[in-house]
Symmetry: C2
Amino acid sequence: MTPTSGEGAEKMDAEDGVNCSDYEHDIENEDLWDGNEESGGYWSGIYDRNKAHTKPLLMKGTNTTSQIAIIGANLCPIESLDYEIFDNEILKNDWSSRKKVQIIHYVMLKWGFALLIGLGTGLVGFFNSFAVENIAGFKLFMTTSLMSKHRYLEAFLAYAGANMCLAAAAAALCAFIAPAAAGSGIPEVKAYLNGVDAQHILAPSTLFVKIFGSILGVSAGFVVGKEGPMVHTGACIASLLGQGGSRKYHLTCTWLRYFKNDRDRRDMITCGAAAGVAAAFRAPVGGVLFALEEAATWWRSALLWRTFFTTAVVAIVLRVAIQFCATGGKCGLFGEGGLIMYDVSSANITYSASGIFAVLLMGAIAGILGSIYNYLVDKVVRTYSIINGKGAFSKISLVVTIALLTSCCYYFLPWIAYCIPCPSNSTVICPSVDESGEYKNFQCPPGYYNDLASLFLNTNDDAIRNLFSPRIIKEFHITSLFIYFATIYCLGIITYGIAIPSGLFIPVILAGAAYGRLFGRLFETITKLDRGLFALLGAASFLGGTMRMTVSICVILLELTNDLLLLPLVMLVLLVSKTVADSFNKGVYDQILKIKGLPYLEAHAEPYMRNLVTRDVVSGPLITFSGIEKVRNILHALHTTGHNGFPVIDEPPFSDAPELCGLVLRSHLLVLLKEKIFSRDRGFANPVIFQRISTLDFGKAGSGKEIKLEDLDIQEEEIDMYVDLHPITNASPYTVVETMSLAKAAILFRQHGLRHMCVVPKSQGRPPVVGILTRHDFMPEHVLGLYPDIKPHKWQ
Amino acid sequence: MTPTSGEGAEKMDAEDGVNCSDYEHDIENEDLWDGNEESGGYWSGIYDRNKAHTKPLLMKGTNTTSQIAIIGANLCPIESLDYEIFDNEILKNDWSSRKKVQIIHYVMLKWGFALLIGLGTGLVGFFNSFAVENIAGFKLFMTTSLMSKHRYLEAFLAYAGANMCLAAAAAALCAFIAPAAAGSGIPEVKAYLNGVDAQHILAPSTLFVKIFGSILGVSAGFVVGKEGPMVHTGACIASLLGQGGSRKYHLTCTWLRYFKNDRDRRDMITCGAAAGVAAAFRAPVGGVLFALEEAATWWRSALLWRTFFTTAVVAIVLRVAIQFCATGGKCGLFGEGGLIMYDVSSANITYSASGIFAVLLMGAIAGILGSIYNYLVDKVVRTYSIINGKGAFSKISLVVTIALLTSCCYYFLPWIAYCIPCPSNSTVICPSVDESGEYKNFQCPPGYYNDLASLFLNTNDDAIRNLFSPRIIKEFHITSLFIYFATIYCLGIITYGIAIPSGLFIPVILAGAAYGRLFGRLFETITKLDRGLFALLGAASFLGGTMRMTVSICVILLELTNDLLLLPLVMLVLLVSKTVADSFNKGVYDQILKIKGLPYLEAHAEPYMRNLVTRDVVSGPLITFSGIEKVRNILHALHTTGHNGFPVIDEPPFSDAPELCGLVLRSHLLVLLKEKIFSRDRGFANPVIFQRISTLDFGKAGSGKEIKLEDLDIQEEEIDMYVDLHPITNASPYTVVETMSLAKAAILFRQHGLRHMCVVPKSQGRPPVVGILTRHDFMPEHVLGLYPDIKPHKWQ
C-alpha cells in the first residue's frame, strides 16, 4: 500500500494517454471531492496531494461561461441533461429482451403517470384557489368591517399587518426551505426542458414551498399570480413521479425502471407544465399550447396527445371540485370566482374602421409599454439579486418592505377617488357588504361606491373580473383607471424578483385590462366596442408585449371568456403588440433565463456561427480512454475532471488503427468501478461477469442518489487491473466533422437533445476524435469570448 | 469532333474515379434522356451508344422501393425535397453580403405572403361555399318543386340527372386536366411537407381543378366534403406564391430570390394547409393545430406565429364576406349555412356516472367502426386504382355510376320513412318549402314531415346542422337514424377513391353525428345529456376513430359549436375512440399515403432499425467527384445516373490524403456546365469567373424550369477542361459513421429534412466516404427487402 507520489501520478498522465480534457466542468463533483479529504480511502488521498498539479489542468479546459446559475434567489450548480438514446450493448440487450407484456406495462405506466399528474395538479390548483379565497377573503372581510365602523387606522393596521405577516411567512419558507421556489418557475422549467438541470429545481422541498409560498404570497395581496408557480408545481409533481421510486425504501418495482432516463422524465415534465397552466386558468387547450409554444424545446405528435389527456384530467378534476363546493360542500369563502372565468358579452361586436384603428393603436402602445415593462423587470431583478445574495434576512426584509408598500398603495390610493352613486338598475347589491363584489363602499356615504377601492381592495381575480365586466356602464372614472393602471404597472415591476413564488401572468393581465378599459374610455367617441371587450383586448396586448407568446395567450383568453367570436380581434391586437415589442427586446422569460445564467440553447443559431466551424470552438484538452483501460487511468480521469462523457478509442491490437469506438458516461463508469468488473488481462471481458450488474444500475438515479467517487473502495491490487469498456460504450455517438459549420452543429445538438457531440477530424492520420462539444460551447458568451472581433448581428 | 467510343467511356470510368453510384435513382431524368435521342447534340449521342454498358451500372444501384407514386389517380415520378441549408461558398457569400434592408425585405415578404395566402384561401373558401349553396340549392329547389306537384318520376330524373352531370363534369376536369387533383389532397400535402415532391402535386392546373372539381363534386350530392380539397387548395396557393415569380416573363424581382429554396416554400405551404382548414371550418385555431398535428413534419415556434396570422386573415375575410351577403349583397341562395356553424346548447350538461358510461361505450364502439371504415376505404381505394388506371373513360364511368347510386339512395330511401306530424311549437316553418330546412315535406301530407328526407335531400352541411340541432325534440325516428347512418357509412366508403376532389371530414362527421344521435336515442333512459350533444360527441368519436387526430379535432369541433364547456366530454370520447382504433390499424391518411406509395418518413424509427447500422443499408455503387474535376467525368456521371447529390473528394496534391470536401448537387453542377465555368489547368478557379453566375441561378427553379442535361451545348474542346467544384460544394454535409445505429440515423435524417446523408468510414485508410443514404434507404420496404429475416415488431 505505498501511496503513489504526486510525480508518479503526473508521469502516468504522460504515459497512459490521459492527455486532454472534455470540458463540461462539473462544479458539484469538484466540491464533493474538496469536501471529502478525510474520507474516501486510498485514492482521494493521492489526489488531494495532486491538487496543485491537477488544478491547472482543469482550469485550462474550463469554459468561459459560468456553470452556476441563479435558481430562485440562490446560486446553484447546473448540469446538462442527456436526451440521447444511449446505445450501448447492455442497454440494447435489455431493450431487445423486453417482451410484449413489458411494452404494455410501459405504455400503461406512461398513461397512468399522465393521469396522476393531471389529478395531482388539478387538486393542487383547486386547493390553491380554495386557500387564497379563504385567507384573502377573511383579511378583506376584517378590513371592510373595521372600515364600516369608521375605525380607519385600525383597518389599515389590520390590513397591512396581515399582508406583512403572510409575506414574511412566504419569504421565510423560500429563504430557509427551498430558495429554488422563488420567482415564477417558468424560466426554470423552460430551461429544464431545454436540457439544463439545476439542483433542487424540481425537488420535493421546492414543490412544498411552491404550493404554500404561492398561497401565502397571493393572499398577501402582492401583485403576483399563481400561474407561474402552478406550472412549476405541475413540473415538480411530474418529476417526483418520474423518479422511478426509491430503491432504498423498496418503493419501486421493475416497471418503473423504464422511466429512469431523462427522455421519459422530460415528456412527463412537459405534461406537468401543461397541466399547471390548465389548472391555473381552467384552460386545457391553452395549457397544451403553452407547453408547446413556450415551455417545451422538444415536441412530438405523441406528446401532444398525452399532454392533452393530462389537461383534460385537470379540467375534469376542477369541474368536480367546483361542483362539490357549489352543491353544499364546506368551502368557506370559496366562490365561483376562485378559478377565474369571465363573461364578456360579444353581442355587439361590429367591425368599423375606426374601431379597428383604435385596436391597432392600442396594440402598438401596449407593445411599447410591454417592452418597457420587460426592460424594467430586468433591471429590478438584477438589483434584487444583489440584495437577495446577502442572506435570508435581507430576502425577508425586502419582501416585507414591498408588502408594506403594496398595502399602502392599496389602502390609501382609493381615498383620492370620487364617490360614485350606485346605479339604480344594478342586479348586484351596491354598495356590497361582503369581502368581494363590484361596488366597494369604502369611505363613501351609503348609496355611493368607491370605484378605485372596488379594484384595489379585492383579490386580483376579482379585480380582473371587475375590469372585464360589461355589465356596469361608466362605473370607472378615467382618473381611477389611470391611477390603478399606473400603480399596478409599477408594483408589478418592483414585485417580481423578491423571494416568494410569483407569477407574471396576473400582474400583466391586471395592468393590461386596466390599460384596455382606460383606452376604451378615451376612445369611446370613435368606437362602439364594449368596454369589457377593450379590457380583454388590453390584457391580450399586454401579454403579447411582455411574454411574446401568441397562440397560447389567444387560446387561454378565449377559454377564460368562452367566446370564440372574439378571436379575430384578439389575434390582431396580439400580432401588433408582439411585433412592436419584438423590435425592442426579448420576451420576459427569455430575459429572466439570461439574468439567471441558464445556458438555454436557442432554436436558431446565431448568424455569426455560420462563419465558424466546429473546430473553432473546440477547446482542449480532451481525455480519452482505450477500449480496455486500466482502473488507474479511469480513476485518475474521474478524479481530476468533472467531465461526464469520455470518448473511447480502440487501438491496436484490438483494431488495425486507432478508431473511435464510442462514448462512455461517468455514471456508467462508476457502476463498473463500484461492482469491480475488472480483469487481470488486457482482453475482452467475459460476458458472464457483466451479469453481476443489473440494467437498473445504469438508469439515471434520482437527484443526490448517484454513486459518488468517494464511495468507491478500490484496493491497491485492483488498481492495475483492466476494465473492458465496450459493453458500456455508446457505439452510436453523434459525430460531426471538424469543418462542419457551427450553426449546423448547434441545430443538430439542440434538435437531438445532446449532452456530448464528438468532433472527428477531416483528414486521416490524426487521432480519431479531436474534441467534444457540449452545451456551453454553443453559448454566444463562449463563442464571442473566443472571438471578440465578431460583431453579433441583431437581426434574425 | 471524333466521338469517343463506348470502350473509351468505359475506360474513363476506371481511370477517373467515377466508380460507384449514389442511388437516388431519378426516373424522370432517365425518361428525358431516353426520349431525346435525336436532340441534345454531341453527348447524348455517345451515351445512347453506351446505354448497354450503363444500364446495368444503374440497375445495380437501384433501390428496391418504387420511385413512382399514385398522385390523385395517376402514376407520377417522385423526388425528394432538400430542406438542408446548403452551405457552399457562393451562397454563403451571398448571404453574408445581405444588408439589413434586404433582411427587412425578406421578413416583410414572408409576412406579405402569409397575408396573401390567407386572403386567397379565404376568398376561395367563400367562393366554394357560395357556389355549392347556389348550385345544390337550385338542384334541390327544382326537385322539391316537382315533388310538390306530385311529379315524382320527373323529380327523380331531374335530381339524378343533375347529380350525374355535375359528377361527370368534375370527373372530366380531373381526368383530362389535372389527375393530381383527385382525392382528398391531405396525404399529398402531408407527404410534401415530409419532403416528397411529386410532379403536378401543387401545380396551377391542380389548383384550378381542385377548386372547381370540389364545387361540382360537393354540389353533385356525393358523400364528400370540401375540407381536404381546401387544404390542398391552400397549399397550392402558397406554392404558387412561393415559386419566386417567373424570370421568363420578367415577373420577378430580386426580393423573391430569397424564396427560391425548399425551406421557405415548406413554411409557406404549412401556412397554406392551416389556412385551408381554417377556411373550410371557419376554425382559425383548429387550422393551426391541424397543420401542427397532422400536416407538418417540421415545426418551429416562429411558424406557429405566422400560421396563426394566416388563419386569422382567413377568419376575417370570411367574416367580411358573410357580412356582405347578410347585409344585402347579391349572394343568391347563399345563407348563413354556407360555412357550417352549429349551435349546440350546453345548458344542461351534468356529469352523471351513467352518462359518462354511455359516452365511454359510444367512444369504444366508434373506435371499432372507425377502424373498420379505414380498413374498407383501404380495400376500395386499391380496387378503384385498378379501374382508374384504365384511362379517362373508366374514371368518368366510375364517378357517374357512384353518382347514380348515391342519387338512388338519397331519393328512394326516404320513401320508407314514416311521416311525422310537425311540432306545434316550432319556431321554423314546418314543413319547409324552400330548398333547405329542417322539416322536408317530401311525399307526406300537409302538416307532416319526412325525417329521412330532411337528412338526405339537403346539402351535407345542412344535414349536419339538423343532426346537431337540439331544438327539435324527438324529430328523428330511430329507424330513420339507423338507415341514414348505414347509408352514409357505406356511401362514404365507396365514394373515396373516385376521380374527383373529395374530402373525408364531412362523410365522417355525417356518419358520426348520425351514429351519436342514434346512440343518444338508444340510451335516452339512462342519460340526460342532450341529443344534439350526443351527435357532436358521435362526430368527435368517429373523427378520432378514422383520422386519429386529437387536439385539432377537438378544437375544430369547439370552434364549430362555440362552446368550450363541452371540452371535457369531447376529449374523453376522442381519447377512447382513438385508443381503441389505434389497436387495430393506422389512421386513414397514413393508410392512403401507403397505398399511394409515397415514401413518408415516420417520426419514430422502426424497432428493428436499432439492431442495424447505416453500413447495412448502404447499397453501392457510389459516384464521387474530385475537387477539381474534368468536364467529361461530370457529364458522364450526370448522363448515366439520375442522382442528385455527389460527394466531392479532395485528393493530393490539393490535400495530404483523400478527404471529404463536401457534397455537390446536380442542379448546381448543371449551372456551372451551362455557364461554362471551365479552366484549362487543373487548379483552383479564379474567383472572378464565378462572378459570371448570379446566385439566383442556384435557387431552386420552379417545376419544369430547371436546366436540362440536353440543353447543354458542350463543345469537344471543352470536354477535357476542368471545373473547380469547391465554390459550389456544401462544405458541411451531414455525415454519420458507418457504425451509427440505423434508427438514430433515420431520426437525424428526418429531423433535419435531409435529402442526402454521407456515410463515412469508421477506420482509417479507406475512402473518406463509403456511401450516401437517401430517403428510400430508410423505408421499411427497402430495409426488409435487404434483410428478409427481420420480423418487424408491431409494438411501438
